[in-house]
């Protein structure tokens, strides 16, 4: 009967954890819409999450597009469909790869830093100090990050898409000899505004997920430096898995 007890304990702990994640998100959303926004902090965090992630997003975007160009050309040439390279690259990037890979890259660069920064504030009692000063830590630490992430992710995702399409162009047109008109012409036929909005919605939701999980893990950090490192690792792993799981759901709903 021990295994039933163990299973029950794990189930209860898991449900408690889920409840805490949910409560944190709920509180964050309530405060976001009911208290004045710290605009200065939002701009600061947009610079940290957004501007400082630009280079890494542009680099990964360009090379992902180039790989898509190569692989796409190889696959399409099997049945003489090279002319469809432009739409293939663009649709893959705009609907799927752009939002997902840019979100994963920002999680690694900015999400981990968010968790460790808030975690260190937690273990050094800086968050307690805010509370004792009768200041709401959500307003100062969580909401600016959530707003900054929700605004930055779609912009970075768009940047990823543009650089990716350019990368596909370099490979398809400049290296493999496809005509520039075919590459872009077919793209304008098959890529619709619906696809673009689909990518934007994904990026918006990924921004919320990353800021939510990373802030929560930082807020609940315990036990010194080891606790910060554990929280940071968990935040990155949970965000990465959630991004992929949520991506499947949102794609299947709008398919």
């Amino acid at each position: 009967m021990n295994w039933i007890r163990t299973l029950g304990r794990y189930t209860l702990t898991g449900l408690q954890q889920l409840g805490r994640y949910g409560l944190f998100l709920f509180t964050t959303l309530i405060w976001t819409f009911s208290s004045p926004l710290k605009v200065g902090r939002v701009i600061e965090q947009m610079s940290f999450i957004g501007v400082k992630s630009t280079l890494i997003v542009m680099l990964t975007g360009a090379f992902t597009g180039m790989v898509l160009g190569l692989q796409g050309f190889y696959a399409l040439s099997k049945f003489g469909g090279e002319s469809m390279l432009g739409p293939t690259v663009a649709l893959s990037l705009v609907r799927e790869i752009g939002p997902v890979i840019s979100a994963l890259m920002i999680t690694g660069r900015a999400g981990s830093a968010l968790t460790s920064e808030i975690g260190i504030m937690r273990i050094t009692e800086q968050i307690d100090a805010l509370e004792v000063m009768a200041l709401n830590p959500y307003r100062y630490l969580v909401i600016p990050n959530v707003v900054a992430a929700v605004l930055s992710f779609p912009l970075l995702g768009a940047m990823f898409d543009v650089l990716g399409i350019w990368g596909g162009y370099v490979v398809g047109v400049k290296l493999l000899g496809l005509s520039s008109g075919t590459y872009f012409g077919e793209m304008t036929v098959y890529l619709s505004s619906k696809d673009v909005f689909h990518g934007i919605y994904k990026s918006l939701s990924f921004g919320l997920i990353v800021a939510w999980i990373c802030c929560y893990k930082g807020f609940t950090t315990e036990f010194g430096a080891k606790g910060v490192s554990k929280a940071t690792t968990q935040a990155v792993v949970i965000c990465s898995v959630l991004i992929l799981v949520w991506d499947y759901f949102i794609t299947s709903v709008s398919f």
Binding site: Q126, A129, V132, A134, L135
Partner: protein, 248 residues
């Protein structure tokens, strides 16, 4: 007035506080002593509502802080100043910004008035020329003084000091205690000082309470508590390694 009634707290099944009762009258200053890790800081955090008790009440001017939520909690916390053990200065702010932060956020003072107030506090703490430094650039003593300046900047009516002199050299430690005494005389705040420097606080507090095994085992005025000849208190004050309590 701070009234702690029948306070109990467990952490992961380990009892830390077991029915604590304490009263600090308005304008009174109480020193809370006891060995390290016994729950003094935990008790202090209950007073300001950072930790919720398993049982018991913490009344601040007759209101149970654990019953308060939202704006009511914010209002009562405006009365508090808290000096954390490690200072809890915001590491991304300079010393000047740390001290001015609560004034900027919680008052309608003009920037020139804030500047005047902050410089006054920093001067008192001997940090007049260190306002531009970040906490990481400060020594332990300077960090504690900066934190004290921040805690006192809002002229609190209740002040909680968590080991204000721990880790400091005796002169700086005494300077800080003198400053706490001056501020107490000026602001007439109600306060609790968690400390190990028992003899040094005799002159500045009206009451001393000793916590041991989760309970208050001795309490009274500095003269009264010494007259009680509680063996655990006496051993602690003398720093004896032998006595009723085995420390190691």
């Amino acid at each position: 007035m701070i009234e702690i009634k029948n306070l109990y707290k467990n952490f992961n099944g380990t009892p830390v506080l077991k029915g604590i009762n304490l009263n600090v009258p308005n304008g009174g200053l109480l020193a809370l002593i006891g060995r390290s890790g016994i729950g003094k800081s935990v008790l202090l955090k209950h007073v300001v509502g950072l930790i919720k008790p398993d049982q018991g009440t913490v009344l601040i001017n007759g209101v149970d802080i654990n019953d308060l939520r939202g704006k009511q909690l914010v209002e009562i916390r405006k009365q508090f100043g808290f000096l954390f053990q490690g200072g809890a200065l915001f590491d991304s702010f300079t010393v000047y910004d740390n001290v001015s932060f609560p004034l900027r956020e919680k008052t309608k003072l003009r920037e020139s008035q804030i500047r005047e107030r902050v410089l006054h506090e920093l001067e008192h703490m001997g940090l007049k020329n260190d306002g531009h430094k970040y906490p990481a650039e400060l020594s332990g003593g300077m960090r504690k003084r900066a934190a004290l300046a921040r805690a006192l900047a809002m002229d609190p009516s209740i002040m909680l000091f968590d080991e204000p002199t721990t880790g400091l050299d005796p002169i700086i430690g005494q300077t800080i205690l003198d400053y706490i005494q001056q501020c107490h005389q000026r602001l007439k705040f109600t306060g609790i000082i968690v400390t190990h420097e028992v003899t040094k606080v005799f002159n500045i507090v009206q009451q001393i309470a000793m916590i041991h095994s989760g309970e208050i085992i001795a309490q009274g005025s500095p003269e009264g508590i010494q007259a009680q000849h509680n063996p655990i208190f006496d051993q602690f004050v003398r720093g004896d390694t032998t006595g009723p309590v085995q420390y190691i």
